[in-house]
Every structure is written in C-alpha cells, then in structure tokens.
Subunit: 197 residues, 2 copies
DNA sequence: CCTACCGATCGGTAGG
DNA sequence: CCTACCGATCGGTAGG
C-alpha cells in the first residue's frame, strides 16, 4: 500500500542528491533543473512533478543539510564547554574529508548574502544558531576558569564562526596552502588556559 | 587627436563601473551583458565592441580593483609591522563604509573556488599576496618582540586573512550582529605584547 | 557604436 | 512521470 509513497520518497532523495552535486559545481543560480533532472535520470518536467519550483528544490537541499547536522549532533551530545569545542574540531575534520559539502556551503552562503536570495533567511538563522551554540560553550568555559580571563565570549564566538568560514573559502581555493583543522585548533588553544587535547 | 581614444577610455570606465554594480547585485554568473550595457547607456552589442566577451569584462573589473588597492597602498607606504596592521584595520574600516565592494568581493571569491572559473587564478594570486604581506608584518613584529612569543607568524597570517573574509560574509548577511572592525582589532591585539592603538 | 539576428538554454505549464 | 510547448533571456556574430 505504501509502495507508491516509498518510491516517491526515494525518488525525491535521488533528486536532492543530484541537486547537491550540481549546486556544488555551478552554484545555485548557475545550475539548471534540466541538469539536475538528467543526473537523477528523469526529465526536467518530471523533476517539477516532485519539486514545484527551483526554489522548492533548494529548500529541500538545505533541509537535508540541517537533518544530517542534527543527526551528527545527536550522536554526539556534547555539553557546552571543552567537549563541544572538540566536537567542533571534529566537524571541521569531517568537512575536510568532504570538500563537496564545504563547496556547496561556501557558494550558497555567498550567493545568499543578498536579502532577495531564496536561501537568505536560512543563512541568517544558521549564523545566529551557530553563534549561540559556540557562545554557550565559551561562557561555560569562562565560568570554570578554562577561558583566558581577557577573552570576551561574545567576540570569541563570532570570531570562531567567521574564522571557520574564511578558512573554508581559502582552503577550497588553495588547498595545499591552508591547514584548516590545524589553524582552528591553534586559534582555540590560544583562548584557553587548559590544553585542548 | 587623442579625443577619440579618450572618449573610448571613459566609456570603458563607465562600463566597468556599471559591471561592478551589477555583479554586486547578481554575482558574475547571475549577471548579463545586457543589464550591464543598459546601465552604461548602450546596447549589449555595443558593450561587446569594448569588451569582446563576458570574461574580458570580468578581467577588467578585477584589474580595476587591483589598481585601486595599489593606489591606496602607495598613499600609505606602511612598512611591515605595527603600522601595516593599523593600515589593514583602516582598510577594513573603508570596506565597512563601502558594502558594495565587499559584496562583490565575497560573491566572486565564492564563485571562483572552482578551478574552472574565469577569476580562479586571480583569487589564488590574491590570497597568496595577501598572506605574504601579512606574514612579513608578523615576522617584523616577532623580531622586535612585539608579537607574543607563542604565536607562529605563518599561522597568524593565514588566520588573519581567513578571519577578515569570514567576518565580511557574516557581516553582509547579518549587519546588525557583527562588529567587523572591532572583532579584527580584538583579534590582532590578542596576538601582540604592545597596544595596537 | 547600432539593428537585427542566431542557436542555445532557461523555468515553468498543459495535458495526458 | 513524459512529450510538447511557451515566452524570456542568454552570449555572441554579421554587417554596417
């Protein structure tokens, strides 16, 4: 009875996977529904049967990213503090092993700076959530004296997110000249009074 | 006698100015020669008379950016060291006052991460030059004991560039929640043994 | 610099 | 899900 629905769900997942691959190579604006459809093995009109517009497909791609991140978070119920920072380093290591994901993220984030972009609100939320998460960790570390007393948790949180983003772009452009994880680790360590690892 | 040539040069400048405005709003791939031409007050075929292809126009835009940066550098012959760092803060202040330039830079940099993009080589060079410039300053500071002894100049240079780039993207997306210049200043100060200002 | 045009491609719709 | 199609737009060319 649910066979039809199951098949539809699987087809949807195939399309989203194809879309991620295409966005990665051409960005959102630079990609076409026809190219995504071809990789998913259907026509572009067939794709529109599942996702009624180009924007709806983008929304589905971003939803999957969030779902995957949530999965990883759940496996890794790190409390705010040192463990959370180590977890963030782990996420960076995961990213370095999956350049395609980083590529997609960097390109979409840049396109979406303009308020009219269909993913703009997504990134506004994304930045806010990321900042709050990191801030909570720095505040916890401040409470236990593990954060250097001259470090402002608010500034440190903002800076950490920005540093991660900037390193990603520079690493994608010149991979051989950027040690993404090492640089992050060095930065974090410089804020702490205890060894990070 | 040079009247014709002068007029052509001026027209070229008009077109480049229009291109910057359009790239800023739509990115390079998202913009059209027709839109650029319309803002410059000519037809798109007229534009092609001056710039033989879309890529040639992009090259001219990047050349102008380099020329303007070089002008600012020349006015401000800062030697490597503290003065140079203050100069970089000044550049960040200039950028915050000119969001359009930052927008263009962030969008192009993200599009150009892929090796096939017409501006890819430009950004490879841009990152390398930027890193070397900042590295020279940190090394000079290390020699005079103004850099904290536990700071590696190489890592600090890479990190500074990445931080600036990441802050720009986050600031463009959520301007009210990011203090770009203040964050840069705080970061730099944390590396030094002497007051930055 | 323009008019006029080309082939290609785009997102989306109709109708089944 | 497909075939067939739409109007719009693209970069670039011809020819003046």
């Amino acid at each position: 009875m649910t066979g039809g629905y199951l098949k539809g769900r699987l087809r949807r997942e195939d399309i989203i996977t194809a879309a991620i691959a295409v966005y990665r190579e051409a960005g959102y604006h630079g990609s076409s529904l026809r190219e995504v459809a071809k990789r998913a093995g259907i026509t572009h009109a067939g794709l529109i049967y599942y996702f009624p517009s180009k924007e709806a497909l983008l929304a589905a791609v971003l939803e999957r990213r969030d779902a995957e991140d949530a999965d990883r978070e759940q496996l890794n119920v790190a409390a705010p503090g040192l463990d959370m920072l180590r977890h963030l380093i782990g996420l960076a290591e995961y990213n370095v092993a999956h350049p395609g994901i980083v590529d997609l993220y960097v390109r979409l984030a840049a396109e979406a700076v303009s308020p009219g972009h269909p993913a703009h609100e997504y990134f506004v939320r994304h930045y806010r959530v990321a900042r709050e998460e990191v801030l909570a960790s720095f505040q916890a570390l401040a409470d236990t004296g593990e954060l250097r007393p001259d470090v402002d948790p608010q500034v440190a949180a903002l800076t950490f997110i920005a540093l991660e983003d900037g390193l990603q772009a520079q690493w994608l452009t010149t991979p051989d000249e950027v040690d993404l994880v090492g640089s992050l680790r060095t930065y974090l360590q410089s804020l702490l009074t205890v060894p990070l690892s």
